[in-house]
């Protein structure tokens, strides 16, 4: 698959997020990670993101190498002269994950505080305009990149191969799809993620649509919410977005 685009990931997630996401998804104990299994899953994710031609930060590969290294060390038979209580090869990574998780909690705690211009306002900080039809934050849970990729993989799986025709030489541009999507979401206020892929006949178009969603998240044109884990994902229109290509 050769594609003439490059989509940057929404910059908010990194390799440690992915690892924590996988640990949580599999309900694993952070102190006793089954390295072989988690490494496979991690690599499959990274591979999938690469097939989408996503511009992955180099750090994802660094962590992949670290995981493979730990895996190989665990597989090695212990040599005789080594002391019994050799350090667990996972120790350093676990420490890093635990610390990272603590900071993520700190970030969430910070975010829960009443924030200026979000929950609390000072005198004369508003100008007048009536703005209707916004979601009320609170019932909705904002979701992250990896949940979205999971959902997208489910969409791909549900599709029967014969449903997908490759249209030779179909001319597609990401810009075009973004503007179509924008119009659609703007009109409806919100759209269900899965609905975007119904009636799409070419694989290329499906992938481009997904990439358009990622790019729109990154530009803050839309935000992604769901009511509860595993329930339908909705895209909400946020505005014209910002130019992030400084």
């Amino acid at each position: 698959m050769t594609m003439q685009y490059e989509v940057k990931l929404p910059v908010f997630e990194g390799p440690l997020d992915l690892l924590l996401y996988l640990i949580k998804k599999n309900e694993l104990d952070i102190y006793h990670i089954p390295i072989a299994e988690i490494t496979d899953q991690y690599l499959r994710y990274v591979e999938f993101m690469r097939t989408l031609n996503l511009d992955l930060a180099g750090e994802y590969l660094v962590l992949a190498a670290t995981l493979l290294h730990i895996k190989s060390r665990l597989l090695l038979p212990r040599s005789e002269d080594e002391e019994d209580d050799t350090e667990d090869p996972r120790a350093e990574l676990v420490e890093q994950l635990v610390t990272y998780q603590a900071f993520r909690e700190a970030a969430k705690a910070l975010d829960r505080r009443p924030q200026l211009e979000r929950e609390v306002f000072t005198r004369g900080s508003g100008d007048v305009r009536v703005d209707e039809g916004q979601k009320s934050v609170g019932e909705w849970e904002e979701i992250g990149l990896f949940e979205l990729i999971d959902a997208f993989q489910r969409v791909l799986k549900r599709m029967k191969p014969q449903q997908i025709l490759e249209i030779e030489g179909e001319q597609l541009s990401l810009v075009q799809i973004i503007s179509e999507l924008k119009e659609k979401i703007q009109r409806a206020g919100r759209l269900m993620f899965q609905e975007l892929f119904e009636d799409q006949k070419s694989r290329k178009r499906i992938i481009y649509t997904f990439l358009a969603v990622l790019e729109m998240v990154r530009r803050k044109m839309i935000s992604i919410y769901q009511l509860s884990p595993l329930s339908s994902i909705y895209l909400f229109y946020e505005g014209d977005g910002i130019d992030v290509n400084e």
């Binding site: 390799p15 440690l16 104990d29 102190y31 603590a102 900071f103 009443p114 005198r123």
Partner: protein, 183 residues
């Protein structure tokens, strides 16, 4: 000048100030009248109590080392309807970086990168542009890297009196509940 008058003057000053105003600042404005600082502190306490008991649309809050009237959080939905410009919310990456800086300051970029597992240059710059993070000095190690810390605006934005109001890392870990899992 009557005390009630002093209370009104202080109230009017806080009302007009466009940022949280400190006791020292109020004191300096009233200096000609020869009031003592503790009188002002006492009146501020009374005013704060009064607004709290009144249960109105806004209250008097202590933030970033000063006093400011702020609306009560429960009315945010209505006020947002009034506002035309949407505030650009902080991204999870920005919040995460901000939390690291807040807890670990003064801290270098390299230390932040290590905690997050990714390069944080762009995020730090964004936080500096929003005046939530600033340069506070240099670390006295080879290369003398820049040290970052949070600003007064950070306290204002998150309704904090000072940094000690942040929950400790230990408290956060207890919240997460993984302390028990430690072998």
């Amino acid at each position: 000048m009557l005390t009630n008058n002093l209370k009104n003057i202080i109230e009017a000053i806080i009302f007009t100030s466009d940022s949280p105003i400190s006791v020292d600042k109020i004191h300096s404005i009233l200096s000609a009248e020869g009031f003592e600082k503790r009188e002002i502190v006492q009146i501020l306490k009374e005013l704060k109590e009064e607004y709290f008991l009144r249960q109105g649309g806004f209250t008097l809050e202590e933030v970033a080392g000063g006093y400011q009237f702020r609306t009560r959080p429960e009315y945010a939905g209505w006020i947002r309807k009034l506002k035309s410009s949407r505030v650009n919310p902080l991204s999870p990456a920005a919040l995460e970086t901000l939390a690291i800086v807040a807890y670990q300051q003064p801290i270098t970029k390299m230390e932040i990168d290590r905690f997050r597992g990714v390069d944080s240059g762009g995020v730090i710059r964004g936080l500096m542009e929003r005046r939530l993070v600033k340069i506070v000095g240099r670390k006295e190690i080879p290369g003398r890297p820049i040290l970052y810390g949070t600003t007064k605006r950070f306290l204002e934005m998150f309704n904090l009196k000072d940094l000690s109001e942040l929950p400790t890392v230990k408290e956060l870990q207890d919240l997460e509940g993984y302390e028990g899992k430690r072998k």
